[in-house]
Symmetry: C2
Subunit: 274 residues, 2 copies
C-alpha cells in the first residue's frame, strides 16, 4: 500500500475531479489517497494564502504516515512558497516521492536542488479531467508505487529533468534553480504564442549552457495570432540550441495533456522504491 | 537640424503611422526623418528576416549622415539581432542617440552594456497611433534634439534604466544584459494577467539584487481573468522587492501609452547633446 497525500501549491482542485480520482482507487489495496482540505480552498487566484498553502504542503511532506506527495493542480503560486517549504522539510519529507508538473515545477526544482526525496515531472491529480484521464492517473500512481511503465521513452543513462517552458524561464538564475550541467532538459508549453515560445527559448538557452542537451515536448494549444510566426516549434528549439551550443536531441513525450509521460529528476529517482 | 533614421527591429510599422509622423515635421528645420524601407516589410511575424532587420539597423546606426536612430515599433524580435548588431557597429554608431521601448529594450540594453551611443527608453515612432500621439511624438523628438522636457520626473542623481517587465525578465542573465548594480530600474507592462506580472517580478527581483531600487510604471490593459488575483500591481512590486531586499521607490511615469516619459540609460545620456 502506497499512501499518497495530495495538496495544491498553486490553484485549487475542483471537487468533482478529486471525486473521480478517488472513485478510481476505491476499494484497492495498492494505493490510498488523502486529499488535503487545502486543495479545495479558493482565495483570490490561489488555493489559499501563501501561509495556508505552505502549511498544507509541509503537513503532507513531513507526515511519516505518507509515502508520497502528489500535486493536485498547477496554475500559479508554488514559487511563492517553495523556498520556505524547503527550509522546513524534515526527514519524513526526505523519504517521500513527489510528482507534478506545470507551475509545480518550481517546487520540483527546489526539492531536486536540495536533494529532498524522489522527484518527477508527470501528471497532476487534476489531469483526470482529460479524455483518457483515468489512464493518465494510473500512469502517475504506477510511478508513485515504484513502477516504470510510464517513463518518458527517451530517457537514457544521463540525468534528466523536465519543465514547462515558462516555468523554467522564470526559474533559471533564481534561488530555486538546481545546477543542470550534464542533464538532458525536456520542455513543454501550452497556450503560448509562438513568438513568446521563441522569446522563452532565447532566455532559457542562454541560462542552460553546459546541459547535455534539450528535448522538445509538445507545444500545445498555440493561440491564433494576427499573423503567422513563420516557423514552427521544432525550428525554434533547433535555432536557439544551435545559437547557444546546446545539442538538440529531438522530441519528448511530455505536454499539458493526457499522454504526458513521467520524467524522474536525476538518476536517483529512476530506481524503483526499496 | 537633427537627422533621425528610423528602423524596425521587431514588427513592421503601418504606413499611415509613418505618414502621420512625417506630416508632423513637414517643413520644419529642427528635425529630418528618414524611414528606412525595412520598416514596412512583412515577413511572418517580423519586419523582414533577421538578416534584413539587422542590415537595416546597421545601415541606420553606421551612417554618419544621421544623428539618431529611432525605433519604429516593438513587437518581438530585437533580441534575435542585438548581439550581432553590437559587434558590427562603428564609430558613427557610437556618436548617435537611440530611442525606443517595449521589445526594443533588448537593443537598448545591449547598446548600454557596450557603451554605444546615448540610449533612452521612450516613445516609438509608431506611438503616433495613440489619442494625443502628436504630443508623444514631440516628446520623443525633443529628447532626440537634446531637450529634457520629456524626462521621467522621478529621475535623481543615480543612474537609471527602464524596461518593459517581460522584456527585462527575458533579458536578465543573458549576454545582452548590462550590469545594473546601483541603478534605479523602472518597469512597465501591458496586456499581462496579474498572476503573470507576479511571476515576472519573482524572476526579475531575484536577478536584480544590488540595484539602487525599483520604480513601478503603469501596468496597463490587464486582461480579465476567470478569478481576481487578490492584490494589485503596487502590492506585487512591493512584496517581491521586500522579499529580495530591493528598495521599492514608488511609481514611474512610463507605460505602453501616450504619456510614456523618457528615461535615459545611465547618467551619460542625461547630458544634452554637445
Amino acid at each position: 500500500m502506497v499512501r499518497i497525500a495530495i495538496c495544491a501549491p498553486g490553484k485549487p482542485l475542483k471537487r468533482d475531479r478529486a471525486d473521480a480520482v478517488e472513485a478510481l482507487v476505491a476499494g484497492r489495496d495498492d494505493v490510498s489517497l488523502h486529499f488535503h482540505d487545502q486543495c479545495f480552498i479558493h482565495d483570490g487566484h490561489f488555493a489559499g494564502s501563501d501561509p495556508v498553502r505552505l502549511a498544507a504542503l509541509l503537513e503532507c511532506a513531513n507526515d511519516p504516515a505518507f509515502d508520497a506527495v502528489w500535486f493536485a493542480m498547477g496554475g500559479y503560486g508554488s514559487n511563492r512558497i517553495a523556498a520556505q517549504a524547503i527550509t522546513q522539510m524534515d526527514d519524513a519529507a526526505n523519504a517521500k516521492s513527489y510528482l507534478g508538473y506545470s507551475d509545480t515545477g518550481f517546487l520540483l526544482a527546489a526539492l531536486y536542488k536540495h536533494g529532498i526525496g524522489r522527484v518527477a515531472h508527470g501528471p497532476l491529480a487534476g489531469d483526470i479531467k482529460h479524455e483518457g484521464g483515468a489512464k493518465t492517473i494510473e500512469r502517475a500512481l504506477d510511478w508513485l508505487k515504484g513502477g516504470e511503465a510510464g517513463l518518458e521513452p527517451h530517457l537514457d543513462n544521463r540525468p534528466a529533468v523536465a519543465f514547462n517552458l515558462t516555468t523554467l524561464a522564470m526559474l533559471v538564475g533564481t534561488d530555486l534553480a538546481p545546477d543542470l550541467a550534464g542533464h538532458v532538459v525536456m520542455v513543454e508549453e501550452v497556450a503560448e504564442h509562438l513568438y513568446a515560445v521563441d522569446r522563452l527559448f532565447f532566455h532559457v538557452t542562454q541560462h542552460l549552457r553546459g546541459i547535455a542537451g534539450l528535448r522538445l515536448g509538445r507545444i500545445g494549444q498555440v493561440p491564433q495570432n494576427d499573423r503567422p510566426f513563420g516557423t514552427d516549434e521544432v525550428a525554434i528549439a533547433q535555432d536557439w540550441c544551435a545559437r547557444s551550443g546546446i545539442p538538440y536531441l529531438g522530441r519528448a513525450e511530455i505536454g499539458h495533456d493526457a499522454a504526458n509521460r513521467i520524467v524522474p529528476f536525476g538518476l536517483e529517482a529512476r530506481a524503483p522504491r526499496a
